[in-house]
Symmetry: C2
Subunit: 449 residues, 2 copies
């Protein structure tokens, strides 16, 4: 079923554009899904993309534009007049429309809104622009099917036919009272299986999940996943129905959230893709590397403090990469488990209990690894004291790194900061330095230098 976009296909389209074969192009792309056209456009030069956007019907191109990556969209919208943008926006659902308008330069926003044809649509978009993009309000669309509890099924079906024209997919029919307060829902299935004279009041389901318009997007995602919802109504403080959020938007939230955490763990500071520019990639990667450099320089300075011990205890210095790596690894492992637990909201017990568990775990792991390192070092250097010093230090470093790795994300979360930062550059680098400091300190106590 997959539509494969080959190099030849792209070249064919480019050729047709050069030759201005508009009819052939329109026919060729007629049956192609907008998501595929968006992928085609991402392969084309901006001028070619503009040619296509202007050529094709705005009913299709509006969805294509909504589907594009933000960077690609920006390039195209810059070349369109406010009037042209408004024509595209006219075709979109209010949530996509508001998302696109919010990306426009401040001065252009009003221009575009002023040129929208449907005043009702414009009003809805303006309302949506008020909400923060990371809240339920920022995710919801105004398009939904709602009926009054005082109607009967027949009126309801008639009204729905009218409303459904506007709504891409009908999940539930929401039931409101005269004040627009959400009272319950009606499933399409029920509507199909009920006599037309029945009063809505008698058939609708009074229990309906909803979220407050100011709820965080992540929490909405959690609720919709937990209860396997495909759509959820959004209400204001007094329960008035404002809009609805559909699962496809939530899938995007989940993916973005996961990607952000992944990139954080991999040491990427900004959201980047392989095809971003060299400059964007450098901006995403250099900060961590720079911190790593600082950390390495810090480690070198610490080792410099113990230079006097170098002649007699050269072996200690050989193991510093090992100590730094272990401190970093243990820290990231502990943090990652906590970060995932927080994200999935399945972390039980108090901070104290968590730390005790991590401590026990670090003792077990630390002991096993320290014994292995002891055996190896003793065989290599046949010096009992050095072998003991190195392995006890490793043991201590693993425990400290585990506890820091567990504590920091819990602490950040309590303070309302994204705990995923704990798996990122700053903590890892401090763990490295801290590890080397502890290592030399313990070694100096045992070996008395």
């Amino acid at each position: 079923m997959s539509f494969e976009i080959t190099k030849e296909y792209i070249q064919k389209i480019q050729q047709l554009i050069v030759e201005n074969k508009n009819t052939v192009l329109v026919n060729l792309l007629e049956e192609v899904h907008y998501a595929d056209i968006a992928e085609i456009i991402e392969e084309l030069e901006t001028e070619e993309s503009l040619y296509l956007i202007k050529l094709l019907d705005s009913e299709k191109t509006s969805d294509v534009i909504a589907e594009l990556d933000e960077d690609d969209r920006e390039k195209i919208l810059k070349e369109l007049s406010s009037k042209e943008i408004a024509e595209e926006i006219d075709e979109l659902d209010s949530d996509d429309a508001a998302d696109i308008i919010s990306e426009l330069p401040e001065e252009q926003k009003e221009e575009v809104i002023a040129q929208l044809e449907d005043a009702e649509h414009a009003k809805e978009i303006v309302e949506l622009l008020r909400y923060d993009e990371d809240t339920a309000g920022g995710l919801m669309a105004k398009e939904l099917v709602k009926v009054n509890e005082n109607w009967n099924v027949l009126t309801c079906v008639k009204e729905m036919r009218a409303q459904a024209e506007e709504v891409t997919r009908v999940h539930s029919i929401y039931v409101v009272n005269d004040n627009d307060i959400l009272k319950g829902r009606l499933s399409l299935k029920d509507l199909l299986t009920t006599s037309t004279r029945t009063a809505i009041k008698d058939v609708f389901i009074k229990k309906v999940d909803s979220v407050n318009v100011n709820e965080e997007a992540e929490e909405v995602a959690r609720v919709m996943q937990k209860y396997d919802l495909e759509a959820i109504p959004v209400v204001d403080e007094i329960g008035r129905l404002l809009g609805r959020i559909t699962i496809d938007d939530i899938v995007d939230v989940i993916k973005e959230e996961a990607e952000k955490d992944y990139q954080m763990a991999a040491g990427l500071v900004e959201d980047v893709e392989a095809d971003d520019s060299l400059w964007e990639l450098t901006r995403a990667r250099l900060p961590w590397l720079f911190l790593g450099l600082l950390g390495g320089v810090g480690a070198a300075r610490i080792m410099g403090l113990f230079e006097g011990a170098l002649a007699e205890n050269a072996i200690l210095f050989m193991f510093t990469p090992l100590i730094a790596a272990m401190a970093g690894n243990v820290g990231v492992q502990s943090s990652a488990i906590i970060v995932q637990g927080l994200a999935n909201d399945n972390l039980k017990g108090s901070i104290g209990q968590r730390l005790i568990k991590e401590f026990t775990l670090a003792v077990v792991n630390g002991l096993i690894l320290a014994i292995l390192l002891f055996v190896f070092t003793w065989i290599w250097q046949s010096d009992f004291n050095t072998a003991i010093a190195i392995s006890i230090s490793l043991f201590a470093v693993i425990i400290v790194a585990g506890i820091i790795g567990t504590f920091i994300p819990l602490f950040l979360d309590k303070k309302g900061i994204d705990p995923a930062i704990a798996t990122g550059p700053f903590i890892t680098t401090s763990n490295d330095i801290f590890g080397i400091l502890i290592y030399f300190w313990i070694a100096s106590l045992i070996l008395e230098f």
Copy 2:
């Protein structure tokens, strides 16, 4: 809307169980969503959970059991007879039913299936058990609403009423011919807005996305996301309609995939949660730490080879943690970008082009970092040659690590291996060692030792 499970609430339930207050318990939990009951059960002891499962109606407990974590479910099912398990399975959709049965011990599977009440349901489950869980067949449910293209809307609505009883949520009505070959779909919306005498043939949409039953789960997820589908029909090689996959299952696939990659990047070898046992956590964490230990030991041995240079070039040894960290960091960053690009299927260009881009990027980043390190080392040690040796080595290490980090995931992917392995322990550790080797080699050339 969120249902908060407090400690007091759990204690109250435990108290009611101790006192055998069954009616109170049933009433208390009557309005509680099965997903919430599953969370309650995860807080209870196995015996208490069993008490609840046996007390509540199996229409509800079947969903609770399907919702539980695999470990928790295993504990409970172990205490239930095959007859009791069959009663729960009877209530579930075929996909959840098959998932649960597939987790049972081999000998119990047939026993449970033999005790199922509905022979049709049993047949469907047996069919689903054939498919690998990571394919479309493993994700699909047999429950769907299908109509024959030769019917009219009235017959269709009547048939649907019967079928819809079985189906939790109706997304699309699939249209098949007499041989069960998928021909198209009909939206509920259309059905509501069409005259009852119209022939299905005249109104159904001929274009319908579908996936082959052997398609990989990840590919199904990609397709459903790309085209914003809420359900997709599954067909066999000759196009016969076998089942359908709904977006809630895909949300789980996406989450699991993201968590797997995240855990890999954080150095966790198995899928673990914060609340897993000490033994499970150790098993997930120790392998990477052990590899890290081996890597560290390897690095120490390499440094040992250059011990002769220690007296004159002590400073070189101070920078080994920095070099190892940078090699690891650059490698993980490059790999992570490629891994994400592959996962999102938005990687363009050949392997050669990727490597050239990464090379350029590494040259830019490497140059900036090498200059910084040069300045710092020169100020600290006022030794031009050493400063030059260290910074040129860093530059080389960054380039090599970047190229390895880019190449390995692309190579793994070409070989059909999960590229996320590249961000895991093995590659990171080799990068560390490799980095230190290059570092000493270049330094020895410049400083002539």
